[in-house]
């Protein structure tokens, strides 16, 4: 059961059932891994990142956000041939910051969600670049492509978060 309460800053705090907490990220990973086979352009989206952002902002609990980001990131790493920890570290930090911001600012309206997702996508990619460099596997950062991908993810997030809002259950 998801629950809703008010944080110290006066912002609504949501919780989710165990089933939602487990199945939604898993489904996001599965869709992300399957759809690019038929729709190659879908690879520009990062559904696991959007899931991390949604849960972190909704829960507004930095510890929960950090753990959520870490788990989803590590699972995403496990599907690649690259060392585990690259996506993991990037999403851990994103989960922490998103939930910290979510605890102070209301990010429920579409406009703020668009800006938030756009910014966090770029932050996530930069953190990933840093992690790749740490692992001695640097790759070039393509600004044009990343900005376009950030915008695409932000637009998808606006629609997706509205759908996921239905999973929030009140006390």
């Amino acid at each position: 059961m998801a629950r809703r309460s008010i944080s110290r800053e006066g912002v609504e705090v949501h919780t989710f059932s165990w089933a939602t907490s487990i199945l939604v990220p898993l489904l996001a990973l599965a869709i992300q891994a399957s759809l690019p086979l038929r729709l190659p352009f879908f690879a520009v989206f990062d559904l696991p990142l959007l899931t991390v952002l949604f849960f972190s902002v909704a829960r507004r609990n930095p510890i929960a956000g950090t753990v959520t980001g870490c788990v989803i990131g590590v699972l995403q790493d496990a599907l690649t041939q690259l060392p585990i920890g690259l996506f993991g570290m990037a999403k851990t930090v994103v989960g922490y910051i998103a939930s910290s911001i979510g605890a102070k600012v209301d990010v429920e309206n579409p406009g703020s969600r668009l800006i938030m997702t756009f910014s966090f996508y770029l932050l996530h990619r930069m953190l990933y670049q840093v992690a790749r460099s740490m692992a001695q596997m640097p790759i070039p950062f393509r600004w044009g492509h990343e900005l376009a991908a950030a915008l695409a993810n932000a637009l998808l997030a606006v629609v997706l978060f509205v759908a996921l809002d239905r999973l929030k259950q009140r006390k």
Partner: protein, 426 residues
């Protein structure tokens, strides 16, 4: 101290999680660097203690993927059954035209192949042939552009192992990087961490094929003064010990100076296979290395003496391989006569003339023909051999005189199913 952790609990959790992942990353990278062969990429690397985690992740996701793929296949099958019936007559006509064209082409290719095989056998050339493949269906991807891998529904249970080459009838796809029990991970050739030894077919230039973050493969380490053209075909060299030699990789799409490696070129390659829309692939599970098998001279031009022998009933047919003490009947249409002195070949130089190109390749007499180890142990009967080679599209026979060893050395170690069966020479 307790107050510190209570006060900075969330920061502590963040630091601990990051630290653990950093340690894990460092461990994996250390193992990778230690075990990585530059040509093999990450294929031969160990995965430290992360293998179990990867298996779990794939096991959690693959049921969704398999279900999605199976549903898609079923729906497409129904739809295609309807569509196929509608356009069957038109397709049939088109296919018939295609068959006729291919038949004509086959005749020409057959002649080329025969000539190539004769020359390869003459030089003791060893070639790798994929002898066993496993068909696999692509069920998923890594889900990110930053890692170009796909998953297939075949694993260790089906004989797949890391390092095996993955192809389609159009060209190469990648190689197996991880094989679990029922699924395997395939690293595509357009991933930045992949690598393959390739060659430009027209110029016979070797280079290394690497993927890029933009998703296309490029050839590195080719000097800037080479005259490479757009559309040049790119083949595998076999030097990476993953892909058999001569498999199509793709064609050159563009050539530009490599900004990171100054005297070299960066050659963008258009893969022969559409790597973003893979459905079924073949995994080469077994490769055999053998000398190409050439058919006898019945496919080549008949000599005047043979024609005369057929027309004149008084002239008996030649006795072939009746006596085991005599040299066996050579392949390649070699007319053999025993040599006087055994041991190392000291006869005249080998020359092969191609009238189409008007070029003559001469091998010095000091370079004996390559013989198989089995043949090398046998007593050598030196033979002077005459080889009749027929070039494609030119009926003129070229006389090639060579100091041959025992002709059995030219026989293959195993029959090649793609070759035509050997016939008894007349």
């Amino acid at each position: 101290m307790e107050n510190f952790f209570t006060r900075y609990r969330k920061e502590t959790v963040l630091v601990v999680l990051l630290f653990v992942q950093m340690i894990a990353l460092a461990t994996q990278v250390k193992v990778r660097v230690k075990n990585t062969d530059p040509m093999q990429g990450p294929t031969v690397t160990q995965e430290g203690g992360t293998r179990l985690l990867r298996v779990w992740a794939v096991a959690m996701v693959s049921p969704f993927q398999k279900a999605a793929v199976n549903t898609g296949v079923a729906v497409r099958g129904l739809w295609h059954s309807y569509i196929d019936l509608r356009g069957m007559r038109r397709d049939n006509d088109l296919l018939q035209e295609e068959v006729n064209r291919l038949r004509m082409e086959q005749v020409r290719m057959h002649e080329d192949a025969e000539q190539g095989r004769r020359l390869q056998a003459l030089l003791g050339f060893k070639q790798q042939f994929p002898s066993k493949t496993v068909a696999a269906e692509v069920i998923g991807t890594s889900g990110t552009e930053l890692s170009r891998v796909v998953y297939v529904n075949r694993g260790r249970r089906d004989g797949l192992e890391p390092g095996m080459a993955v192809i389609t009838p159009d060209g190469i796809v990648g190689k197996v990087t991880r094989a679990d029990r029922t699924t395997s991970q395939i690293l595509l050739i357009n991933d930045p961490t992949s690598g393959a030894g390739v060659m430009l077919e027209r110029l016979r230039l070797n280079g290394i094929l690497k993927g890029t973050t933009a998703g296309y493969p490029e050839i590195l380490y080719v000097m800037a003064d080479e005259k490479i053209q757009t559309g040049d075909r790119v083949l595998t060299t076999g030097g990476d010990r993953v892909f058999p030699k001569g498999m199509l990789v793709g064609t050159v799409e563009s050539v530009m100076p490599d900004r990171e490696r100054d005297p070299f070129l960066a050659i963008k390659v258009r893969p022969a296979v559409n790597l973003s829309r893979l459905e079924e692939v073949l995994v080469i599970t077994e490769v055999v290395e053998r000398t190409p098998y050439a058919t006898d001279s019945t496919s080549g031009p008949m000599k005047a003496a043979d024609m005369l022998a057929q027309r004149l009933p008084s002239v008996p047919k030649k006795e072939l391989t009746a006596d085991p003490t005599k040299p066996e009947t050579p392949v390649l249409g070699i007319a053999a006569t025993p040599a006087k002195t055994p041991g190392k070949t000291t006869g005249p130089a080998t020359s092969i003339t191609d009238p189409a190109n008007k070029k003559t390749a001469v091998a010095p007499a000091s370079q004996p023909m390559q013989a198989s180890p089995k043949a090398a142990k046998a007593p050598i009967n030196k033979i002077a051999a005459t080889i009749v080679v027929k070039t494609a599209g030119n009926a003129k026979a070229n006389q090639v005189t060579t100091p041959a060893k025992k002709p059995t050395a030219l026989k293959p170690t195993a029959p090649n199913p793609t070759d035509t069966p050997k016939e008894t020479p007349r």
